[in-house]
Amino acid sequence: MKPLLDLTDVNYTYQTAEGETPAVKNLSFRVFPDHFLGIIGPSGCGKSTILSLIAGLIQPNSGKIAVSAEIGYMLQKDHLLDWLSIKDNITLGPRIHHKLTPEKESWADKMLEEYGLAPFADARPGQLSGGMRQRAALIRTLALSPGLLLLDEPFSALDYQTRLTVSDDIYRILRTQHMSAVLVTHDISEAISFCDRIIVLTSRPASVKKTFDIHLTLDEDRTPFKARMAPEFKDYFNEIWGELNV
């Protein structure tokens, strides 16, 4: 199977007036269709840099990044624009690309309906709760129909209860749309509950320290919340915790 995303020996160094900071060193990994990859690492190890590289916002100093899917990037905060309605916010991507067709608009209406945001279509972002805002941000990212979604700690700005619900919602949306995802997080439980494979990074400059394939025994369909009940969950947690703290 052809990977959607293939990184080979990628290096990246930040240049500033004060000096240079190697952020990514000899990084290699792949993401296959319908796969969710979790990236976990010590704070400040260059996780966000990796997403910027994949999204093409910055260029690697050396190495190869091959992408064969449209990429959607979901930032840590929702960044809904206060001066636009929710509907205008979620159609911002197509609007920027001058592709706001009537089909896109009805797609947006359908998504708003599906995720309980229809009554807020004309509302300003300030009137929405944290969880609703995050869902709106997701729909905005999906509006450009990406095949691979980059998630940069997308739940970290939410309170714990909302975070579990939104995590389930986003998981379901991605699965039904047959998308792949790269989830960057510092939360071990979140990574295990959400992902099929987890790579643990070394501290800066980031490279892959260890890879974990997550296989959970569950009676019913997997959701991030139910995944936390799986008997293997605790073992994965301890192993990853160990890797992070060596």
Partner: protein, 272 residues
């Protein structure tokens, strides 16, 4: 020996008492404001009547009022006020357009902004009144000079303020547009301009006063109409009634224009 027990007093002010107290305080402040105004006017009038001051050079409220009625009757009052308001509004609109456009260009071309920064700082701190005589020589003894005078008064601070507002927008918002595949133009259109509207509006409030100052200075030097002209004319022919009347009208005008923009700002904030 044990410590003595202290019992705190209770205060059971009712809602009605609280509101009444607040209202009383508000009335007191409004009342005092009017009292000061009446005190000044009455003091001025009495001092003039009893020759404590020379009414010829200090004028008096009744004399000013008479001149006002007389000038209102022959419509010259409205003519002068209209000229000053018109010039102020034209220079105000020009400042808004020129200032915003240049600030946008500087945002677009960061190197240009860095290169030009010291020049803008110098032009902004320069007392703009010093430019007025040059403007007359360059542009002639006409309304163009007066309007440009009003523009120079406010345009440099507007450029600096708006440019500063533009570059201090949350950089994550700019990143958002880039993650959606947008260009610099999209960032300007969807983020920078809408996010700066409140900065632009609050800048307007300052500008209207500055433009009025510039226009009056311009009228001092190059005009045959307007309140600034009336002040200079009055002082030259020793009709201090004209001067005082013009100053009082200027006070009212400045207040009205400021309040107008204050309402614009409030309206905008409510819409947000």
């Amino acid at each position: 020996m044990s410590d003595p027990t202290i019992l705190y007093p209770v205060s059971n002010t009712s809602r009605e008492e609280f509101l009444a107290e607040r209202k009383k305080q508000k009335n007191f402040i409004t009342g005092m404001r009017f009292f000061i105004l009446i005190f000044i006017l009455a003091g001025w009038e009495i001092a003039a009547r009893y020759h404590l001051i020379d009414a010829f050079i200090f004028s008096s409220p009744t004399r000013i009022f008479k001149v006002m009625l007389q000038m209102a009757a022959d419509k010259s009052l409205f003519y002068h006020i209209g000229i000053t308001i018109g010039e102020t509004l034209v220079s105000f609109v020009l400042v808004l357009i020129i200032g915003t456009l240049i600030a946008m260009l500087l945002w677009w071309c960061r190197s240009a902004a860095d290169i030009l920064e010291p020049y803008f700082v110098v032009l902004n701190s320069l007392p703009k009144t010093a430019l007025a005589p040059i403007l007359i020589v360059w542009l002639g003894n006409n309304m163009k000079t007066i309007i440009v005078c009003g523009v120079t008064m406010a345009v440099f601070s507007t450029i600096i303020n708006l440019y500063t507002a533009f570059i201090h927008i949350d950089s994550d918002k700019l990143l958002l547009i880039r993650t959606l595949g947008g260009t610099r133009r999209d960032i300007l259109r969807y983020i920078v301009l809408p996010a700066s509207i409140s900065a632009i509006v609050s800048n307007l409030k300052v500008n209207i006063g500055l433009c009025l100052v510039g226009v009056i200075i311009g009228e001092f030097l190059a005009a045959n109409a307007g309140l600034g002209y009336l002040i200079i004319y009055g002082s030259q022919v020793f009709r201090l009634d004209y001067v005082m009347l013009s100053i009082i009208i200027l006070c009212i005008l400045a207040m009205v224009l400021y309040q107008l923009l204050y309402f614009v700002e409030k309206h905008y904030q409510k819409k947000q």
